[in-house]
């Protein structure tokens, strides 16, 4: 019996973030703020130190939690993200989410801003349409598509017609800015 208990404890210890269920939203102050990140490399004047990273705890809130990511996967279809970015994130009306290229930044805060504020060349603003917690769940799922989450958190299966290998088997795509020839 002893080894089993030990093993169980070990699993619980390593997987507690992954399995945690929160029944209350994080207070607003605990959430990362979009102003902490920038999408352009250019900064007028002397180059300042890079902006401070948001507290890891808040960033991890959704990203280290398997339930949040699987909820994000459900919401990705539910809010019709899949209609534009394709069921597997390969893109269509909207750009791919599966690849390394990011037009408006790959950090969770960037993606949060993209969903809530919209972007000028077609991304709608979902401000006031999606509860904040669900936006963060979507952000986490979107990042899982290009392998930016831990393997044990990213979904391993789909309930629908598979159009590409699972998120958990996705190799990490090192994010880089998309070179956009059009529009200006």
């Amino acid at each position: 019996m002893k080894p089993r208990i030990l093993l169980g404890t070990l699993v619980l210890l390593t997987a507690c973030e992954r399995e945690q269920r929160r029944f209350q939203e994080l207070p607003a102050a605990a959430r990362p703020a979009a102003r902490d990140v920038q999408v352009s490399e250019l900064q007028p004047g002397p180059v300042a130190a890079p902006p401070s990273e948001p507290a890891p705890a808040t960033r991890a809130a959704s990203e280290d939690n398997a339930y949040d990511v699987s909820e994000g996967k459900r919401l990705y279809v539910w809010f019709n993200c899949a209609g534009c970015h394709a069921a597997g994130g390969g893109g269509g009306m909207g750009p791919p989410l599966l690849d390394a290229k990011w037009r408006y930044g790959s950090e969770p805060e960037n993606i949060y801003a993209t969903i809530v504020e919209g972007r000028p060349n077609g991304m709608p603003s979902f401000r006031g349409k999606i509860p904040d917690t669900q936006v963060w769940q979507l952000v986490a799922y979107v990042r899982s598509m290009s392998g930016l989450l831990k393997k044990d958190v990213a979904p391993g299966r789909s309930d629908t017609l598979n159009t590409r290998p699972s998120e958990s088997s996705k190799a990490r795509e090192t994010p880089r800015p998309e070179e956009v020839e059009q529009p200006r």
């Binding site: 279809v77 539910w78 809010f79 019709n80 899949a82 209609g83 534009c84 394709a86 069921a87 597997g88 994130g89 390969g90 893109g91 269509g92 009306m93 909207g94 750009p95 791919p96 599966l98 690849d99 290229k101 919209g118 000028p120 060349n121 077609g122 991304m123 709608p124 349409k129 629908t160 017609l161 159009t163 590409r164 290998p165 020839e181 059009q182 529009p183």
Partner: protein, 615 residues
């Protein structure tokens, strides 16, 4: 000495065009020099239908009101087309799909670009056809986010010194053909409901006929007739809803019983589903002056998942005949009631006179997405024949007694089931890409697809301005492995005369000439001339980017015959290249991209106009 060679042809054309106007205006006789330089001028108001008879020009995207894309020019013919050479090119500077037909009016060519929908006038009277002016309608950039299948535009229409076309953010504009000045701009739709406009208008007398796109976004489809002078909306006919909205009145006489009855646009839907039921009007409009009827098709019902909309879903996936002045409906026929596969009914319906079973008949010829070439009586909407031209596993034919497409049991898509081997796939055996018809030979030239798909339905949520589809699809090549075919079709006999397999779907338009040559382009960038009777390849030229545009032919101010086409891959079929989609996902571009994974290795993007002539 030939008649043509005694006078410069354009002068001759000008005199011919001026003649009716001169009579009206009491015998003014402008000099022939004026005539040649001022063809589209405001002082001469040649009748649009007369102009359409002039093969030297190309005045509306589909060439003429009948939508033939047939030109009587034959200086370039099957015997000498092998010598065709590049005359000049012009870059649009844009990288998305270029689906438009250029227009030629007098000594000017007009090109409508994809978003941002610039209208550019090129001066054909000068060497190298320099730009005369550019008109910029400045559509909302956000419109790009609700354009289902790339930010394309299919072209303009010319009448009475004006050019008319649609912008992606759902406006119709009229532009002075001489100066490039905007004459009016009318807002027709709302991008926040997912409405865009991509189709090429048709002008009938004092009406510009237009329609909306957005069948994948849960829009409610409509066609509208605008006043050519003011841009005022004279009528708007919805594709779903109560008869009053559909402009169905006492003169509506559909041929088949299933289209007869009150408010079918409401009663063939679950409650209120018709309000977001699709039936967009994004394809071709044709017109028959003798019957005074315009004909246009309606798009797929929304969402694609058919289990969310039990019923026949009128008036989607069908064809309306209407009065151009009032929009009043005269008849309707439904290609695919309760559409299961996104088989929009918007393909061209070509006005032609044919001998069917020994009798002369006034018909419409419609190579449809369902995979059949339909021949309809254009006065009544009766189906005279529906002959398969593609590989079909989804239906067994059309019952000529009831007019109804006969679906194959077990192939119905819907909730929580995966149906495999659906042929034709969603884009059909032929999509919007227009065919050409030679009325002299009765031959139809079909730019075809050979695609099948697997499809799984799921619950689509309606959120205005976002996709409303509810169907996961993966497409792949049909039998034979060639994803496209260019087909020569004898309409009266209902027989394929020749078929040219193409690696990719043939997504370009076609032009056929009295010189027995048919021109089309391929998605891997070949512009081809084939013998119109045999399909034998006579000439080809490799352009910079895959062709999804509509080729045209015209007589230049120098009297020579030219052939022009826009290259610039994209559209639904080419979105994988124009939108730089990720080929690791089979579902890209609503499943189409899965069948096009090797396109990026075969072509790159970039819009360029090519014009060819004999040396």
């Amino acid at each position: 000495m030939s008649y043509r060679s005694r006078l410069p042809p354009l002068v001759l054309a000008g005199l011919f065009l001026l003649t009716p106007g001169c009579k009206k205006e009491g015998g003014a006789h402008p000099s022939s020099a004026q005539a040649s330089s001022n063809l589209p001028a405001g002082t001469t108001k040649p009748d649009a239908s007369k102009l359409a008879e002039d093969d030297g020009q190309w005045l509306t995207a589909s060439k003429d009101a009948a939508n033939t894309r047939y030109s009587r020019l034959k200086d370039i013919h099957a015997g000498n087309v092998k010598d065709l050479k590049l005359a000049w090119t012009w870059s649009t500077g844009l990288v998305r799909g270029h689906e438009a037909a250029p227009l030629v009016v007098g000594g000017t060519m007009y090109v409508v670009t994809p978003y941002p929908n610039r209208l550019v006038a090129l001066d054909l009277t000068k060497e190298g056809a320099p730009v005369k002016w550019t008109y910029e309608p400045a559509p909302s950039p956000s419109a790009q986010g609700v354009a289902c299948c790339d930010v394309v535009n299919r072209g303009a229409a010319y009448a009475d010194g004006r050019l008319f076309y649609n912008t992606l953010d759902a406006h119709t504009v009229a532009v002075d053909a001489q100066t490039g000045k905007e004459l009016w701009k009318t807002k027709l739709g709302d991008i926040n409901k997912g409405e865009t406009m991509t189709m090429a208008p048709l002008v009938v007398r004092d009406r510009v006929i237009v329609g909306n796109s957005g069948g994948e976004m849960g829009v409610r489809g409509w066609a509208a007739g605008l006043d050519t002078k003011t841009g005022a909306i004279a009528w708007r006919a919805m594709s779903t809803g109560p008869d009053a909205d559909v402009l169905i009145g006492p003169h509506f006489k559909p041929f088949y019983a299933s289209d007869q009855g009150k408010d079918l646009g409401v009663r063939t839907w679950p409650p209120d589903q018709w309000k977001i039921g699709g039936g967009s009007v994004w394809g071709w409009v044709s017109y028959d002056a003798a019957l005074d009827l315009v004909f246009y098709g309606t798009g797929n019902p929304g969402p694609w998942n058919p289990d969310q909309r039990p019923g026949d879903n009128k008036w989607t996936c069908g064809i309306f005949a209407r009065r151009p002045s009032t929009g009043e409906a005269v008849w309707f026929y439904q290609w695919s009631p309760h559409d299961l596969y996104d088989h929009d009914g918007i393909n061209e319906s070509i006005v032609a006179d044919l001998t069917v079973d020994g009798k002369p008949r006034q018909v419409l010829i419609h190579p449809g997405r369902t995979g059949y070439v339909y021949v309809l009586d254009r006065a009544t909407g009766q189906v005279l024949s529906a002959t398969p031209f593609g590989h079909i596993t989804t239906s067994t034919g059309v019952d000529l007694k009831t007019g109804r497409l006969q679906p194959v049991p077990g192939m119905e898509t819907g909730f929580d089931k995966t149906i495999r081997g659906i042929c034709p796939a969603a884009p059909g055996s032929k999509d919007w890409s227009p065919s050409a018809f030679n009325p002299e030979t009765g031959m139809l030239y079909i730019p075809g697809n050979n695609l099948c798909e697997d499809a799984q339905g799921y619950e689509a949520n309606y959120i205005a301005g976002t996709p409303y589809v509810g169907m996961n699809t993966k497409m792949y090549a049909g039998p034979g492995g060639n994803r496209g075919e260019f087909i020569g079709w004898d309409v009266a006999a209902g027989k394929k005369v020749f078929g040219i397999p193409e690696k990719f779907p043939v997504w370009s338009g076609v032009v056929v000439t009295a010189g027995d040559v048919a021109f089309y382009g391929t998605m891997d960038g070949w512009f081809k001339a084939v013998h119109a009777r045999t399909g034998q390849e006579l000439w080809k030229f490799k352009v910079g980017s895959g062709i999804i545009g509509q080729p045209i032919t015209f007589r230049g101010p120098d009297g020579k015959q030219y052939v022009s086409v826009l290259s610039g891959v994209g559209g639904w079929a080419g979105a994988i290249v124009s939108g730089e989609l990720d080929p690791r996902d089979d579902n890209i571009a609503l499943g189409f991209g899965g069948a096009m994974k090797d396109l990026p290795q075969n072509t790159t993007r970039g819009g360029m106009l090519y014009t060819f002539a004999l040396p």
